[in-house]
């Protein structure tokens, strides 16, 4: 047995795609089957734990819908095997996957993909690198068919909330506190963010300067934009 043989057999074994007996064909081991089987079990257990810590309310919704969290995680990880060094990035594709998975599992609660995306986006905003253009890294505009902020109601009601109207949110890191926050966004919000990012507002997005100034002040008060933010390059003054 070469080391390459071992790794070739180890990958499907660890991902639960082959059995202990397949691994044992490589050579002798004094370990009983149950000890070897610990490893794929540990990998799967850890993936379920990591995602439960990353998106705890998504897990609560899954279980309130009568679905098995561990089984759902197994199906997700089979489609999106974890990569890279960052543990939370195990959940990077969860929202899109949940949206696609609904065709196979109609019991998934309405809005669960929005909740997963909102939670993931808040993590990205909270941990975004400090260098580089701030809006590119710590401010995200998201449109949701159901407002994910209703997730908090689960904590008091113990039920999955029903669907709401669609909402567009700015998910961002408040640099004063370091916390991830969200506020509603509209066309003017997007215009102000674009202008702050140095994008020229052309005739296609020709908004009155006082409207832009009012929205910029709101975003400054919310901590989306710094208080010393200059008027955007594309704004009329």
């Amino acid at each position: 047995m070469t080391l390459a043989d071992f790794f070739a057999a180890a990958q499907p074994f660890l991902q639960g795609r082959s059995a202990v007996d397949d691994l044992k064909t490589l050579g002798h081991t004094p370990s009983p089957d149950a000890d070897l089987a610990m490893y794929p079990w540990l990998v799967a257990w850890d993936q379920a734990r990591i995602l439960a810590e990353l998106v705890p309310t998504v897990r609560t919704w899954v279980e309130l819908a009568g679905l098995d969290w561990d089984a759902l995680v197994r199906a997700y990880v089979a489609d999106h095997p974890p990569e890279g060094h960052s543990v939370p990035h195990v959940g990077a594709h969860l929202a899109d996957w949940l949206a696609g998975h609904r065709e196979r599992e109609p019991r998934l609660p309405a809005g669960i993909e929005a909740l997963a995306d909102f939670t993931w986006t808040a993590f990205l905003a909270r941990t975004a690198p400090d260098d580089g253009p701030d809006l590119d890294r710590r401010v995200f505009v998201r449109h949701y068919a159901t407002d994910p902020r209703i997730a908090n109601r689960t904590l008091t009601s113990g039920e999955v909330p029903g669907p709401t109207d669609a909402v567009t949110l700015v998910v961002y890191r408040d640099e004063t506190t370091g916390a991830a926050r969200a506020c509603t966004a509209g066309l003017v919000t997007v215009a102000v963010l674009l202008a702050h990012g140095g994008h020229a507002l052309t005739g296609a997005l020709d908004l009155p300067s006082d409207t832009l100034a009012t929205e910029r002040a709101r975003l400054q008060n919310r901590g989306v934009l710094p208080h010393d933010a200059p008027t955007g390059a594309g704004e009329r003054t």
Partner: protein, 277 residues
């Protein structure tokens, strides 16, 4: 960048703010760099403030020193930047593999204990050392099975790798105990077969028993047996090495972890603890 001594704790989520706000004594803090590399925000700011007050050690979990995939050199470069910023004197990771074929398991997986694996992992440890521009030490892992193709034995494998890589040993005392209990061997004898002369740091942690198997959970107070084993280790390691109290699951408030660290300091370094009182 000299290495700290004494007893430290892991900088776990939620620990930094109460640590910075208080006046409790701790000899050093250890971070998992994967929680900070490439990230900013409040956690990063708090880490830098902690680094102003306490020495920082870094203990990685994902370099996959024994793995088959090419080392992630871009990530190692970002890791080096972090270690430089924190003035970390040496870097530690695990003698294992964590990823294979691009699949990141986020588990510490044992290698076949064979000569080919010794050469393979030693070469990668040397490359990591060169890329990080600082000494590297490897941790003996908790191991629940012996992989096929193993010929050397657990402690001999650790010994051979450390010699071939000319690297340090992060001696995890709890892992020695867990492996011995599960394998029915004598923990003291197993400990003394490790390359203790290369030890640069000790890890001490609690374990839990599930279905008759001892698991390295870092989720319970350190047992008396592990403290005894740590005392034995300290008689055989060179000089005064830092000792980390690991706590990762069932995480109590930082004050309780500091209490346990104080108890551990008294147990392992009674003269120093008396001097500090």
């Amino acid at each position: 960048m000299s290495a700290p001594t004494g007893v430290g704790i892991g900088l776990r989520p939620g620990f930094a703010e109460p640590l910075l706000a208080g006046d409790r004594s701790v000899d050093f803090l250890e971070i998992v760099p994967e929680n900070f590399v490439g990230r900013g925000g409040l956690d990063r700011r708090l880490l830098m403030r902690c680094a102003d007050r306490w020495p920082i050690l870094a203990h990685g979990v994902s370099v996959s020193l024994g793995g088959p995939d090419p080392l992630d050199v871009a990530w190692l470069a970002a890791l080096k930047d972090l270690l430089d910023a924190l003035e970390v004197p040496f870097y530690t990771d695990h003698l294992c593999f964590t990823s294979v074929g691009g699949f990141q398991s986020h588990e510490l997986l044992p290698l076949p204990e064979c000569d080919e694996a010794v050469a393979h992992v030693a070469a990668r440890i040397r490359e990591v050392r060169d890329r990080l521009d600082r000494p590297v030490a490897v941790e003996n892992i908790a191991q629940y099975a012996v992989m096929p193709g193993s010929t050397l034995g657990r402690e001999a494998f650790v010994h051979a790798v450390c010699e071939a890589a000319d690297c340090g040993l992060l001696l995890d005392v709890n892992n020695v105990y867990v492996n011995a209990r599960n394998g029915g061997t004598d923990p003291s004898a197993d400990l003394l077969r490790l390359p203790l002369h290369r030890a640069v740091q000790l890890h001490v942690a609690g374990h839990e028993i599930h279905h008759g198997r001892v698991l390295d959970t870092h989720g319970a107070p350190v047992s008396d047996a592990v403290i005894e084993l740590a005392r034995l280790a300290l008689h055989h390691v060179p000089g005064r090495v830092p000792v980390l109290l690991e706590r990762d699951t069932h995480l109590p408030p930082v004050g309780e972890v500091l209490d346990e660290a104080d108890d551990l300091r008294t147990a392992l370094f009674p003269a120093r603890a008396r001097g500090a009182a």
